[in-house]
């Protein structure tokens, strides 16, 4: 029972990270039909920022610095991607552009950090464990879960309750209409792209103590984020949250029970959802883009 609890907690921690990562992917797709294939590479930038700044035994300050640096790097990269993809209107071109940028970024990271597997330690004050129902569990992961909850609430308030959020939601539903109403959708789109990429990079830092950093991690993370977006419904914030929680659990339970088939289970979950709900579990309210 207690081991199951650990796995559920692991799943929640993973779900929190996946939500942070998948959110940008989902909104960018929902708002401008751009499939950002560099999203995994942006995540990896964050992970390597943590490798560079968070040394063994580093304190909270270094970690916070890494988060901020990753957010800035992610936002810049996101802005660049937004600018590049806006240069062409064809969706496949845009996907190929991001694919190219992703390859370049990942290769530059390999050039800089080598092909070794880097592990990143959690900041010292939260590096220990606490006892949860008789099992020792890392404090850091509990904090990640907390971060996920805070992020979910913040995004909910921002997207569902603020004026900016209503522009975002309306753009997902009908871009042409929003533009016709005189809203400068271009700036909103670039902003969302940059913010989404910043979140993915921050996710890379936060996931550092759990997943480490190594070449090829970008693909794995991109895959998980894609599956989260597909399961949740393209362009839907609530969908991304639900998808992240589901995939986090599938991933954690799979790793605990059937380690060899964990990735197969992820695909099976996606196939199952698509079989029952082709547009995802919680599609954006108007499924124009689905």
């Amino acid at each position: 029972m207690a081991t199951h609890l650990v796995s559920v907690l692991n799943g929640l921690a993973m779900g929190s990270l996946l939500f942070a990562i998948a959110l940008g992917l989902s909104l960018v797709f929902g708002m401008m039909d751009v499939l950002n294939l560099a999203h995994g590479a942006v995540y990896l930038v964050g992970a390597y920022v943590a490798v560079a700044l968070v040394t063994d035994g580093a304190g909270v300050a270094a970690f916070v610095l890494a988060v901020l640096a990753a957010a800035v790097a992610g936002a810049l990269l996101g802005g660049l991607l937004a600018a590049l993809t806006r240069a062409t209107t064809h969706h496949l071109d845009q996907a190929l552009l991001t694919l190219g940028v992703g390859l370049v970024v990942a290769e530059v990271l390999t050039l800089a950090f080598g092909t070794d597997v880097h592990s990143i330690s959690a900041p010292a004050p939260v590096g220990g464990g606490v006892t949860v129902l008789g099992e020792t569990y890392p404090v850091y992961r509990l904090l990640v879960i907390g971060f996920g909850v805070v992020l979910a609430v913040a995004v909910y308030v921002l997207v569902e309750r603020s004026p900016l959020g209503s522009v975002i939601r309306a753009t997902v539903a009908d871009r042409a209409m929003v533009a016709a109403l005189g809203v400068n959708t271009g700036r909103v789109l670039v902003g969302v792209f940059a913010a989404g990429a910043a979140l993915a990079a921050v996710g890379g830092v936060l996931a550092g103590p759990i997943l480490g950093a190594q070449p090829g991690l970008d693909e794995k993370v991109l895959l998980l984020a894609l599956v989260v977006v597909v399961i949740g419904g393209l362009g839907s914030v609530r969908g991304a949250l639900l998808g992240a929680v589901v995939i986090g659990q599938v991933q954690a339970l799979g790793t605990a029970l059937l380690p060899e088939y964990a990735s197969f289970l992820v695909f099976a979950a996606m196939a199952l959802v698509l079989l029952v709900r082709p547009a995802g579990l919680l599609p954006a309210r108007t499924g124009v883009h689905a």
């Binding site: 064809h90 969706h91 190219g100 390859l103 970024v105 088939y261």
Partner: protein, 372 residues
């Protein structure tokens, strides 16, 4: 070989015909008369209709002869590299069938390539070294894998299709990476050299090359036939206007599923050929990068045409395996830059992936060649 030559000739003929109208493509109302600038080379072509075809046939014969003669003059290393290019070209032909002909851009074909390769290795290790049996097994398993997973993807179109195929491809890749039955991340080694017709093992690189060349040519001819068949017409119809197809009484989802399975079978053959050359296969050979490079080959080569993507496949693999050695093993850096460059330098070409603009571009280039 002869049949293939004729196929290519046919294709050229079709392209000649397309060339007649490409200039007025692009949504604007067609002018009653094409611009005289365009008409000049066209009328020249009709006047001496035989000449360009004969010249093309000569080119095809020369290319085939060169490809066949290559092992006689080259050392084993470049011959092995060319063998890999041919196997990769088979994968690319399958991607082109989806992307160029049917308008479904795919990043998942590397999965079926891997399935075919693992099948060939397993058959080679446990059952028989017969190359034909292995290739056939690769074909069947690629088909089966595509049939089992494809229904998820073919319900979508465009960029969502791209996303789903990527998810499928990566999932299969990671299953291979963790599944101990296929060696996990270490891959599968120990495949004995292949044999043909119960003869001795094909140890020389040249013999393997010839075998792969023959199969690749057969696949090329088969796909060329599909493209020109009524089914190929159906696929082009789906690419151009799916709603119209439904209004004509078609069930496009069925045709899309069919071509997805077909492309999976083609990729399976490609994988089997790849494994027969390397006698080893690991998850790294079927990852995201392979899928991306296959799509890049199609884009560079010209979606919808068959020989173009084959050329693109050779080019892409050359950059990755040979050029990258001379720049410190960082081929992906170059290829990533190529992706970006292709989009910006040939924007009209890329747009042709779902329309016919790439062919338009190719036509424009041909016209330039003609006039110079």
């Amino acid at each position: 070989m002869r049949a293939e030559t004729e196929k290519e000739k046919e294709q050229e003929k079709e392209q000649e015909q397309e060339k007649d109208t490409v200039t007025v493509h692009g949504g604007t109302p067609a002018p009653p008369d094409p611009a005289p600038v365009v008409e000049a080379p066209d009328s020249a072509a009709t006047a001496g209709a035989d000449r360009p075809h004969r010249r093309r046939a000569a080119v095809v014969v020369a290319v085939v002869a060169l490809l066949t003669a290559a092992p006689l003059v080259l050392s084993p290393y470049p011959v092995s590299a060319m063998t890999r290019m041919l196997a990769f070209a088979v994968l690319v032909i399958g991607v082109d069938l989806l992307t160029g002909v049917t308008g479904l851009p795919s990043l998942g074909q590397a999965a079926y390539f891997g399935v075919g390769a693992y099948t060939a290795v397993l058959v080679g290790v446990h059952i028989t070294p017969d190359a034909m049996v292995q290739a056939l097994a690769g074909l069947v398993m690629g088909l089966v894998a595509a049939a089992v997973t494809g229904w998820v993807a073919v319900r979508a179109r465009g960029i969502v299709f791209l996303m789903l195929t990527l998810a499928i491809g990566e999932s299969v890749h990671q299953v291979a990476d963790t599944w101990s039955a296929v060696g996990g991340s270490n891959g599968l080694a120990g495949m004995p050299p292949v044999t043909l017709f119960g003869g001795p093992a094909l140890l020389a690189a040249g013999f393997v090359y010839w075998w792969v060349l023959v199969v690749a040519a057969l696949v090329f001819a088969a796909v060329a036939l599909v493209v020109r068949s009524p089914y190929g017409r159906t696929l082009r119809g789906i690419r151009d206007n799916e709603a119209r197809m439904r209004a004509l009484g078609y069930r496009p989802a069925l045709a899309r599923y069919g071509v997805f399975c077909l492309a999976g079978a083609v990729a399976g053959v490609g994988g089997a050929l790849w494994a027969q050359q390397a006698r080893f296969f690991s998850p790294g050979d079927m990852g995201f990068e392979v899928a991306a490079l296959a799509l890049l080959s199609v884009v560079i080569g010209g979606a919808g045409s068959l020989w173009g993507p084959c050329l693109g496949a050779a080019l892409v693999l050359f950059v990755r395996d040979n050029l990258s050695a001379s720049i410190g093993g960082h081929g992906p850096l170059v290829l990533g830059a190529v992706f970006v460059a292709v989009v910006f330098l040939m924007p009209r070409g890329l747009a042709g992936l779902t329309g016919g603009r790439l062919r338009e571009l190719a036509g424009a280039r041909r016209r330039k060649e003609n006039s110079s």
